[in-house]
């Protein structure tokens, strides 16, 4: 059984005990434990179930590569599924539960899949569940879905907050093992601004476990000095608990800092996502140990040798009293020695190699450990945990030579450099036969914006698996990044130094294992992919490594193949009779380890999810109980419901009141762009379909803007301010877009024209004062002459009203007597209040956007976004009067001349009134006879605006109809979604006050 040793444990603080719970069981751990080490210390070997077969699973690794020991951490608003126990620091009160089983971890019904696993090989679901057809969705798929998945889905929102931060540096070093520390120091000593990231809470990487001395002094002292040196330099920033997650183009690196995972609820952000721009990236990300493929290698108690060593040395946890070590390289002997040193038994080391005579094997022998070379594990014995191994010859087919009882197996299949960050942005790899692994190819690095190498690799990540080689690489050629920051280039370190470590390719154990054994050898633990599955994929022609991966799901688990990819590739290459470099590798995609979505969303939640644009009167509307609708990033009052009113009732009241008394609209969101200069008139004549250069000073003119395709994109009233200044109003959503559009043409096409623009939308609050009492209100406020004579329709004037400096425009979008009053935004709220106050006696009520829409529809005015949808030209809307026939050119003119746009067969705007007075359904189409070549019902038009008119007490509508204006009086049919139609008569689109008597008073 696994347990806590009486002494030792480099990282744990035995004076700081914490209590945790796992599946409701209370357990004791120490500060400095990971959840994995604490579980092992409490003999919790069985920690989860696999994805497909629901086989019992234990802890395999000690780092982020762990595929099995994932738990639901916390509960409620702090529940996090799929937490890696190996990366979770314990804290007092930690709650965790195991995943992917029902009803319990010990007794899981899903394990039935395991008993029929022979019927569920790789890709079985592609070959079955085909008949009967509805069964996939309704029977098979639900079963598969419930059997798959891992952690629990949270059911509530998140109690924690997240944030992001930007950082910049000359050199970013990822990984603070010996190589990373040396790289950071070298770069910093050259004056570079350095950031050093380390995923663990402490620096040092594997060195405290794997080394005794560095550069002649004890590893502890060396690390302490290295850290102290770095911390003393103010051009170095060290961030622990921070994983370099992804490398993107132009030196952009994403790093996930786990700020408060280990102190939940302390008010700090849970994670902080760093977005770092680095001049140069040095990855010192080490290497990950590979499992060996032998039958039963997935049983709880079979662990990576390095992990066993970590748990013993770092946390004083033994995986068992008797641990068999199985390996193809020397490093696992360190595990045997560490176990022995901790007073535990290592009954045998099984080494697949024919000889093992390096220093470590000799040391093991000297320590009295039995070493057998040329040997392999034929089979691991046990159910929910290891009870022993059957030993065979590696060269044979698995005939059992002896059986050894044990409660743990420490395995090492060699080490794979962590090349992820090198590869994210296109760095290429080389197959290194010495260590049987892919290493970065320094000749083909990922490129930075200037074409230079963006990433270099040091240490074990570069394939240098021994400390002397790492040190020699630094000493002999220096850090390439360091020299490059000074503008020189040198050969990359990895070219000149070779590691002394040799790792032979051992992909299957024993090499001649029959199918009965191969179908029990796990490559991908979590996804239950076995050696036999990869071989099956190869036989069936899924020969590309991408095909094999996708067909078998190899490497698609939450560890993304960190443990399984190379072994799987080896098996595939053997099955295809090819070399590994020919087979290639799958693409490494970010992130290196999974990143919490909340951290990626950052601060953008709740109130600051998106910018909310507020007018100066926004608060007043809120106090008035306005119901808002989003318009772009603005929110505009849709209506101002009173107590007991529905929105519809409120809108109708607002319409009737505005038409009979006085309505006030917050029109501040309307875009306002000043265009000034000697060429401004010429410029506006290009921007608008009509002529603006001839507009007299003091006058207003309605204008249309089209894109180069000819489609209508915006409209608004243009005012001539002085000889060379115009003010262009745009739609509420259009101000920024139209301003950018103007600048685009001025900067990129007509750059010699003398025109300046300024977007002054937010400088002014604007109030539309609308209705028969509009003039009276302004007269009550007083200060300027707003009479018909002084300020006729479509003119503007500056002056004061109620003491406010204003610009008054006499324009109308409602058909009523109407003014739009612009005041500086800082006075907007006060002006609005003044209008409301003065309007009390005149029946003033605020109105919202829906009332505005109905009033304009009653008048037959078009609305950008309703009558237009990006495919409509002004001519479709009968706006030919606003299109100059004289101008040689304007934006959109040539586009409108194209055959489809100039065709007389287009749908054109008309009004509709239903025969029964009802409202035509929103979105309805006008049906035509017959069907088209695809069997779709023919259409001849559609509704674009349809409302109940409270003024006329009936439904009114506008829409586009084939040959519309020629068909007045005709009855057409609009479709309904229930299959029926609504009959409506074609008519003029102006329903109300056709002669404009109401606005010209």
């Amino acid at each position: 059984m696994s347990t806590r040793l009486a002494k030792g444990g480099r990282l744990i603080d035995r004076t700081a005990a914490v209590e945790i719970s796992f599946n409701g069981k209370r357990m004791k751990g120490y500060h400095g434990d990971t959840l994995a080490s604490a579980l092992l210390a409490n003999d919790q070997m069985l920690v989860g179930r696999s994805f497909k077969y629901h086989r019992p699973r234990g802890i395999v690794a000690s780092g982020p590569e762990e595929p099995n020991a994932l738990v639901n951490l916390g509960s409620g608003a702090r529940l996090e599924p799929n937490q890696r126990t190996t990366m979770t620091e314990v804290f007092d009160g930690l709650e965790a539960s195991s995943q992917n089983h029902w009803p319990s971890l010990e007794f899981d019904v899903g394990v039935v899949n395991n008993y029929v696993s022979r019927f569920l090989p790789a890709g079985f679901y592609y070959k079955t569940f085909i008949h009967p057809r509805p069964f996939w969705k309704h029977v098979f798929e639900p079963i598969i879905r419930h059997s798959a998945g891992l952690g629990k889905a949270p059911t509530t929102g998140d109690a924690d907050r997240y944030e992001q931060a930007y950082a910049f540096c000359d050199v970013l070093v990822v990984g603070a093992g010996v190589a990373g520390l040396l790289a950071a120091r070298a770069a910093a000593q050259d004056g570079a601004r350095v950031i050093l990231l380390e995923q663990a809470p402490q620096l040092g990487g594997r060195s405290p476990v794997d080394e005794t001395t560095v550069e002649g002094i004890s590893v502890e002292d060396w690390l302490a000095k290295a850290e102290a040196d770095l911390r003393a330099m103010d051009n170095v920033t060290i961030r622990t608990r921070t994983t370099g997650a992804g490398v993107y183009d132009h030196g952009y690196v994403l790093a996930d800092e786990r700020v408060a995972d280990h102190t939940p609820g302390d008010g700090r952000p849970k994670h902080r996502l760093w977005r770092i721009r680095a001049g140069k990236i040095i990855t010192a990300t080490g290497a990950i140990e590979r499992p060996l493929s032998f039958a039963g290698n997935d049983l709880p108690g079979v662990m990576l040798a390095g992990a066993v060593r970590d748990f013993v040395v770092n946390h004083a946890v033994s995986p068992g009293d008797r641990t068999v070590v199985v390996t193809n390289n020397d490093s696992a002997y360190q595990t045997a020695l560490a176990l022995k040193a901790a007073g535990l038994e290592v009954p045998v080391i099984l080494d697949a190699r024919d000889t093992a005579d390096g220093a470590l094997p000799e040391a093991a022998r000297a320590a009295g450990i039995r070493v057998l070379t040329g040997r392999a594990i034929a089979k691991v014995k046990g159910g929910k945990r290891v009870t022993g191994v059957a030993v065979c010859a590696q060269a044979g087919e698995g005939a059992v030579l002896e059986e050894v009882s044990c409660d743990a197996v420490a395995m090492s299949g060699g080490w794979s450099p962590v090349v992820h960050l090198w590869s994210h942005c296109g760095g290429k790899l080389l197959w290194d036969e010495t260590i049987s692994a892919f290493v970065p190819d320094p000749a083909r690095p990922p490129l930075n914006h200037d074409g230079s190498a963006m990433v270099s690799v040091v240490g074990a990540a570069a394939g240098l698996l021994d400390l002397p080689a790492i040190l020699e690489a630094v000493a002999s050629t220096g850090i390439s990044a360091r020299v490059e920051t000074k503008g020189r280039r040198k050969e990359d370190v990895t070219k000149t130094v070779k590691t002394s470590v040799e790792i032979p390719p051992i992909w299957v154990m024993p090499q001649g294992a029959p199918i009965t054994l191969r179908s029990k050898m796990w490559l991908d633990y979590q996804n239950d992919v076995k050696v036999s599955d990869v071989q099956l994929a190869a036989r069936e022609g899924y020969q590309s490594v991408e095909h094999t991966k996708r067909y078998t799901t190899l490497g698609m688990a939450t560890d993304q193949g960190k443990l399984s990819n190379i072994n799987g590739l080896g098996v595939l290459a053997d099955a295809l009779g090819q070399e590994i470099p020919q087979v290639g590798t799958t693409t490494f995609r970010p992130p290196y380890t999974p990143v919490t979505l909340g951290a990626l969303a950052g601060e953008s939640r709740g109130e600051i999810f998106q910018p909310l644009r507020r007018t100066p009167m926004h608060e007043s509307h809120e106090q008035s109980g306005a119901y808002f609708e989003p318009v772009g990033l603005w929110r505009r009052p849709y209506c101002f419901p009173r107590a007991g009113e529905t929105h519809e009732q409120a809108v109708h009241r607002e319409v009737l009141n505005t038409r009979s008394n006085l309505g006030l609209l917050d029109a501040s969101t309307l875009g306002k762009i000043i265009v000034k200069g000697p060429d401004a008139g010429k410029f506006l004549d290009m921007m608008y379909t009509g002529v603006m250069s001839t507009l007299p000073v003091g006058r207003c003119r309605y204008g249309l803007m089209c894109n180069e395709q000819g489609f209508l994109s915006d409209d608004g009233v243009v005012a001539r301010i002085d000889e060379d200044t115009w003010l262009c109003h745009t739609t509420s959503g259009g101000a920024d877009r139209i301003h950018a559009w103007m600048e685009d043409w001025l900067q990129c096409e007509w750059w010699d024209w003398q025109v300046y623009t300024a977007n002054v939308t937010e400088q002014y609050a604007q109030v539309a004062v609308v209705g028969p009492n509009a003039r009276k209100l302004l007269q009550v406020l007083g200060g300027m002459d707003v009479s018909k004579e002084a300020l006729p329709f479509m003119q503007w004037a500056d002056g004061t009203l109620g003491g406010f400096p204003v610009r008054a425009y006499r324009i109308s979008f409602s058909g009523e007597l109407s003014y739009e009053i612009a005041v500086p935004a800082s006075h907007g709220a006060a002006f609005w209040e003044a209008c409301m106050e003065a309007g009390k006696a005149l029946g003033a009520m605020p109105y919202g956007t829906e009332c505005l829409h109905i009033m304009r529809a009653e008048k037959g005015f078009i609305m950008i976004g309703d009558e237009t949808d990006g495919t409509v030209i002004p001519q479709d809307l009968g706006l030919d009067w606003a299109i100059s026939k004289k101008k040689a050119d304007f934006l959109g003119k040539r586009g409108q001349e194209r055959s489809f746009l100039a065709s007389p067969e287009r749908w054109k705007l008309v009004g509709f009134e239903t025969l029964d007075g009802s409202v035509i359904p929103d979105g309805s189409y006008i049906v035509a006879e017959g069907v088209n070549g695809n069997g779709q019902r023919n259409t001849q038009g559609r509704v674009t605006s349809t409302y109940y008119s409270p003024t006329l007490k009936r439904g009114i509508a506008m829409g586009l109809l084939h040959h519309g204006p020629q068909r007045m009086g005709e009855v057409v049919e609009f479709n309904t979604v229930s299959g029926g139609t609504v009959k409506a008569r074609v008519r003029d689109a102006v329903f109300y006050d056709k002669d404009g008597e109401k606005q010209n008073v």
């Binding site: 910049f168 004061t800 500086p824 935004a825 800082s826």
Partner: protein
């Protein structure tokens, strides 16, 4: 007439740095390029010289910032805008230019304290270590445009008025105690 009201009425948040909305502040956007009289015009309006690329020239409560090759931001007390506009109009008479009052279209914030830079570092993709004194940077804070510069041991930040509430929310979230980048 009422007193002018800034977007947030001077709201403040005390986190690990202090964040304050200030204002109203007088601002004029001036667009002009390659004019001999520009020196004189800016001098007359705000009393500073013409800023070089990306610089802001500060003189007491007035300043002139470089916004683009043909745009300057003139800063002054709110009440002085009409005078400044008149001065510009006079100095630039007959020259192609555009000078408009944008005082009401902007919101201005101060971020103060030892760790003021941490607040901005969370929101703006700019290298604040390399932001020189007197340098005006136009960039973004999270999802909206902003301009900022170092001043009086902190930062002055200008954004659009309509998003002042959003920017205050961002700055407060970023300045929450315990979240120092440290």
């Amino acid at each position: 007439m009422s007193d002018p009201v800034s977007a947030l009425g001077g709201v403040a948040f005390n986190g690990f740095a202090e964040v304050r909305e200030i204002g109203p502040v007088g601002m004029v956007a001036l667009r002009a390029k390659d004019l001999k009289v520009l020196d004189k015009a800016i001098k007359a309006a705000v009393g500073t010289k013409v800023p070089a690329q990306r610089r802001i020239e500060v003189s007491g409560d007035r300043a002139c910032g470089w916004m683009s090759p043909d745009e300057y931001l003139l800063v002054m007390p709110y009440a002085e805008v009409p005078t400044a506009l008149a001065a510009l109009a006079k100095a630039l008479a007959g020259e192609h230019h555009l000078a408009v009052d944008v005082s009401d279209a902007r919101a201005v914030f101060r971020i103060e304290g030892d760790k003021a830079a941490d607040v901005l570092s969370k929101l703006s993709p700019t290298d604040l270590d390399r932001l020189a004194p007197g340098e005006l940077r136009r960039s973004r804070t999270a999802q909206v445009p902003a301009a900022f510069w170092q001043q009086d041991g902190g930062y002055t930040l200008v954004c659009f008025r309509s998003v002042a509430g959003y920017v205050m929310g961002l700055l407060s979230h970023s300045a929450t105690p315990g979240s120092e980048l440290g």
